[in-house]
Symmetry: C2
Amino acid sequence: KKILVIPGDGIGQEVTTWGQKVLTAVAANYHHQFTFEEGIMGHVAIEATGDPLPEETLQKARNSDAILFGAIGHAKYDNDPTLKVRPEQGLLKIRKELGLYANLRPIKLFDELLEASSIKPEILRGADILFFRELTGDVYFGEKKRTEDRNTASDLMIYHRYEVERIARKAYEAARTRRKKLCSVDKANVLEASRLWREVMQEIAKEYPDVETEHMFIDNAAMQLIKDPKRFDVVVTGNLFGDILTDEASQIAGSMGMLASASVGDKVGFYEPIHGSAHDIAGKGIANPLASILSAALMLDISFGLKTESQRVIKAVEATLRQGYRTMDIANKHTENEFIMGTDAMG
Amino acid sequence: KKILVIPGDGIGQEVTTWGQKVLTAVAANYHHQFTFEEGIMGHVAIEATGDPLPEETLQKARNSDAILFGAIGHAKYDNDPTLKVRPEQGLLKIRKELGLYANLRPIKLFDELLEASSIKPEILRGADILFFRELTGDVYFGEKKRTEDRNTASDLMIYHRYEVERIARKAYEAARTRRKKLCSVDKANVLEASRLWREVMQEIAKEYPDVETEHMFIDNAAMQLIKDPKRFDVVVTGNLFGDILTDEASQIAGSMGMLASASVGDKVGFYEPIHGSAHDIAGKGIANPLASILSAALMLDISFGLKTESQRVIKAVEATLRQGYRTMDIANKHTENEFIMGTDAMG
Ligand SMILES: CC(C)[C@H](C(=O)O)[C@@H](O)C(=O)O
Ligand SMILES: CC(C)[C@H](C(=O)O)[C@@H](O)C(=O)O
């Protein structure tokens, strides 16, 4: 199997090392042949080539079986909204070019982290949500405009029927293998794109009568997710709402530093932590490597069908947490028997 | 003072009675002259006239000094996204027609409700956030399109400089009277409308050097709000992001049933609970009337400048909670000395 590793920006560099090490260990222990290549993307790629997604990286991506990605973004661009070339364009472009339309974000709390969240343990215990975020449409990819006087700016929020259909089916298929509940999130009381979304969801729902379907407005969903996370099984939503809800849901898993994601679609699978480049802690060796390690576990499962190996990695993460090892972000200030570790020690 | 009361749909009917009763009591006790008129809007207005915002209601609104509104929406429309005439159009139109561009949503936890939330008390204690949600722009009001084959739908997310400027100034002025911290929320790493938003915010920030400004991406904000609500003082954001964040923030106040809002702009002030029409509990007499009562308190303060009277209402709510009276939504299953009340008893 050919794996392309793209560490990207900020803590992407340090955490991705650990995802890759775990893949190497799995290959050795289970006698698989993984070959690794490296690619650049984001701010680091702009610095090196002027392009956030150099053609060379895209070629390598097309020729690989799976991609392990780190993070993207840099404060320089955040502070100057007028810059034309921006790191995030690299990530958006690779998602589009590789047809990665379904972004799976599993939210599950490790028992050991029950106390690490700002949410009460009794609300969290047993929560297990699988998000399907549509990843190649919506206001992310609709036409962007700025008037010549620069005083008016717009982005087109747009969805096509086929885009909703294909993510709907993926989500329903997954719901069938789980608790058979699907919640579709939109803002159909205000947005036309959401009304199309809801119409199509209602149609596809008929193909899955064994799955219980619920429609929820995004504002309500943002509330229910914190109020009662256990009510959700599979959640399917658009690109923008999915971005917001899954970051919010990180509190259900204790920390953003725990969350992995898989983007799938046409062929190549793309695996990345949900967290960003976190430049404030980058290079300090304190970032949580578990999201990258769990992204590697998702790759083993989804792209390579290696379920045993994938479970082995998850068990190893569990064991590490059970022994009390913690990075800063998941440390519980009220407990004694925890050992705060750096990125490498934790890995 | 002329007050227009628009109960609207669902629980709007039962809770608004209580906001009005409190205003009547204040008038009697403090010797003010409040006259009340009633107007229809939403599903009830469609049923009666075919129009979610009849011209008569709009005229009454223009001629009033302040408006007390209940809630809007009905499952019939939620379940059928193809319906052309929809209750929410009434609310959106009145916001636009009255120039209600600034929606203030104060999020503050009554000490008595510290245990009612799904978030840990130690995370919540002391949280006090004032949201400024822009209310007459964004993807809510940009052009909506549906192709003839009905397979593609879009909404234009659009902002003009003057829209950002005026809400920015309102938010900064408020920050000056509080803890002098302002957080502007956008998605400038992806959206052009957000880049304009951030540019303008950065400019206006220079006029308020005494206020500490922070810019945050919406996904991160949705997370931080739950992780550490105390880090926020004033939050200013666009129409869509504001809709999502403030519903989410309801968990900081224990329940959606506690949250009031004020929409201001050109002249008339518009006061409403953040909660929706909640048809599942409508007519059962179990809805929490406090959001409507607290909306009345906001009206006294903001539209009429009656600070003493406004504080008196808030104190009465506090006293009621202290005595242990609760509606279902704020009941704490783990406590003994609470009395679960219906809407009327609670009012
Ligand atoms: C970095 C950014 C463009 C990206 C997104 O908004 O999709 C990130 O927040 C994510 O969730 O993967
Ligand atoms: C009912 C709906 C149109 C409305 C909105 O989205 O603005 C509501 O959610 C609100 O927050 O006032």
